[in-house]
């Protein structure tokens, strides 16, 4: 690791006193990176780019936004209509939230497939999950700021979850709200925190990258670099590859911004918040839907635990389980490429998460298969039967068979159960029993033998 040659005397003078240029040269230029990273490795840098995009557009939006329950909605419309290119700013930021989540979800699933969470990258993985949690808090509070109907009711539903905590729940909710309902004080603190948290994320990203650079990137083969023949310098190889990926990604992003700017949002959020009118369906942003489905999967109490508390615990557990993943996955082989059984379960897990998201968008008690009409008819028949039995002096609810039909919540329960099954039971067992394929001896081996190298 030679120090960079510095021709500029000023830079050299500065670097002798604070070796920041040497540091950057090591970490961004020389930094030895596996030569076989596929395009799935682009999503980390894309997440970083999105973070910058969000912070920059967010700061400018904040210059025009008013955090006041009476003025917030109108101030956003002013940004859309009267601020020069305000609509562009706002659509970059609002769609940016979605793009950021798409990128980070892909980034996380990349890690799940290639076993990037395994030793020695556990701390790196933890930091990633902390980033994910911070992003969720930031996005949730950001969605409240335009103070539309979904802002208000989403905030009400989600903050209300804390009331499930035994004994102190209600006090906590009052404390969070700064009053007895979601109102002006809530909006103001959410704005303050929405401004703060992204900078906390920046801090954790720095730690994330620090941890990354200790052992270097994992790679599609999941084996360690064994020498200089396995690595290439980060610059120019990965800088140009990341830039190419970013440009392509921005095409997709631009399609949303310019042509479907409200597609990922909910129309109700263009109705000003109204505490007296509850929307027919309160749904969070799409990236929270799988968690929303887990939350609502619990429509039954267990012992002294009310359904609501169970739902909240399960929802948080669905992320917290990732913290112990490095120890739940007992396989010594990192990459899914060499795990023929794991591969299939990985695909099932993705489908499971997508189905959870689908369920999260639905009213839990709507029929899943039966038509609305036939359910209506069965219910009418049941009600008529109950009424008749009651009139005859019998207990109608005992006399008549309540019609049963499969509802979305049942699918949600199934997929929630499967999610936890995957992490808590399947991975520990699979790691011990699966017959993995033979690992290549080095990253460059198959390439020198003339095989098709994975990705480039």
């Amino acid at each position: 690791m030679a120090a960079p040659t510095m021709n500029n005397r000023m830079i050299k003078w500065f670097d002798d006193r604070l070796p920041i240029f040497t540091f950057m040269h090591h970490e961004l230029h020389e930094y030895p990176t596996p030569k076989n990273l596929s395009y799935w490795w682009n999503f980390g840098s894309l997440a970083g780019i999105m973070l910058v995009v969000m912070i920059v557009t967010g700061i400018v939006l904040a210059m025009h936004y008013t955090a006041d329950a009476n003025l917030a909605f109108g101030s956003v419309e002013r940004i859309m209509r009267d601020v020069n290119y305000g609509w562009l700013l706002r659509y970059i930021h609002s769609n940016g939230g979605s793009m950021f989540f798409i990128v980070v979800y892909i980034h996380v699933f990349r890690g799940l497939y290639y076993g990037s969470y395994k030793s020695p990258r556990e701390v790196l993985w933890w930091l990633g999950i902390i980033i994910l949690l911070l992003m969720m808090a930031t996005a949730f509070m950001g969605y409240v700021l335009p103070w539309g109907q979904m802002s208000f009711w989403g905030a009400t539903v989600i903050t209300n979850l804390f009331s499930a905590i035994p004994l102190v729940g209600d006090s906590i909710v009052t404390w969070l709200w700064g009053g007895f309902s979601v109102d002006d004080p809530t909006l103001n603190r959410f704005f303050s925190l929405h401004y703060l948290l992204p900078f906390v994320i920046v801090g954790v990203v720095v730690l994330h990258l620090w941890a990354l650079h200790v052992h270097g990137s994992n790679n599609p083969k999941g084996i360690d670099m064994k020498g200089p023949q396995d690595s290439i310098p980060f610059h120019p190889y990965y800088t140009v590859k990341d830039l190419f990926g970013a440009a392509l990604f921005f095409v997709v992003y631009a399609v949303f911004i310019f042509f479907f700017p409200d597609y990922l949002g909910h129309p109700d959020n263009y109705i000003p918040a109204n505490p007296l009118v509850t929307p027919a369906h309160i749904v969070p942003e799409w990236y929270f839907l799988p968690f929303y489905a887990v939350l609502r999967a619990f429509d039954f109490d267990i012992w002294f635990m009310p359904a609501k508390l169970l739902g909240v615990i399960a929802m948080f557990a669905s992320i917290l389980v990732l913290f112990v993943l490095p120890w739940l996955d007992t396989s010594r082989v990192r990459s899914g490429t060499f795990r023929p059984v794991f591969k299939w379960f990985f695909i099932i897990l993705i489908i499971d998460c997508v189905v959870l998201g689908y369920v999260g968008a639905k009213a839990p008690n709507d029929p899943l298969i039966a038509s609305q009409e036939s359910v209506q008819a069965a219910n009418d028949e049941y009600n008529a039967c109950v009424a008749k039995a009651d009139a005859a002096g019998k207990n109608g609810e005992e006399e008549c068979d309540k019609p049963f039909f499969v509802q979305y919540v049942h699918l949600g329960q199934l997929t929630t159960a499967y999610y936890f099954f995957h992490f808590l039971l399947l991975l520990p067992i699979l790691g011990r029993t699966e017959r993995t394929l033979p690992l290549p001896t080095s990253i460059s081996e198959p390439v020198t033998k003339g095989g098709a190298g994975a990705g480039q």
């Binding site: 631009a254 749904v283 998201g357 639905k362 990705g455």
Partner: protein, 261 residues
Amino acid sequence: MNGDGVMTRRIVTGLAAAILGLGIATAAQASGGGTVGERHWSFQGIFGTYDRAALRRGLQVFQGSCASCHGLKYIAFRNLQDVGFTEGEVKAIAVDYTIADGPDDAGDMFERDGKPSDRFPSPFANENAARASNGGALPPDLSLIVKARADGANYLYGLLTGYHDEAPKGVELMEGMYYNDAFSGNQIAMPPPLFADGVDYEDGTEATVEQMAADVTTFLAWAASPEMETRKRLGIKVILFLLVLSGLLYAVKRKVWADVH
């Protein structure tokens, strides 16, 4: 080492399915209640623009048939200049309105003629007054209505053309309610606002209910997204630029990576 390529393809397919699934989910969550058909709109598609003649007619319909109950508070008269009205026309439109202003030097509120920088005044002083005049129901401000409903343009058109003279058999209409196909629950407190020849179109178009509904929908779609034409025009440029940039970067990447293997 083919496994990796296969996996990559599988993941891509999975993701595509996920994104599709999302689409279905949002479309499905949007529905609920009334029935709405589909129409072709001038402002649809990536090259869509607002039909200028329809906008002018739509303004006429809005002023003649809606403004007595509904506000349009995010639109200033001068905004009409962005879609082809001349300065003179805008002044003439504004002058017809009386705007409450003040306080003046003596501290009194006063009324004056509208100016291009004024916004369309709301017909009622406040929510209570609006409800009192509408049998308890609140006519919403229409500035954002097309964005505030799923599939807004088709919905609005469906709402305006979806009235029945009488409720279908077996449906009990509540006091002061009208039967409407598009409205969720089918009972709406808004009386049918459009009648054939309800306005006298300046351009001589025949004022059928469908024509008026389509025109006012175009007008309100513009009111909800006045930036749309600029947005789409800029979007095409930005995307073309990014595609070229991607192509160039891909070429550079190929060149840089040529010696790695």
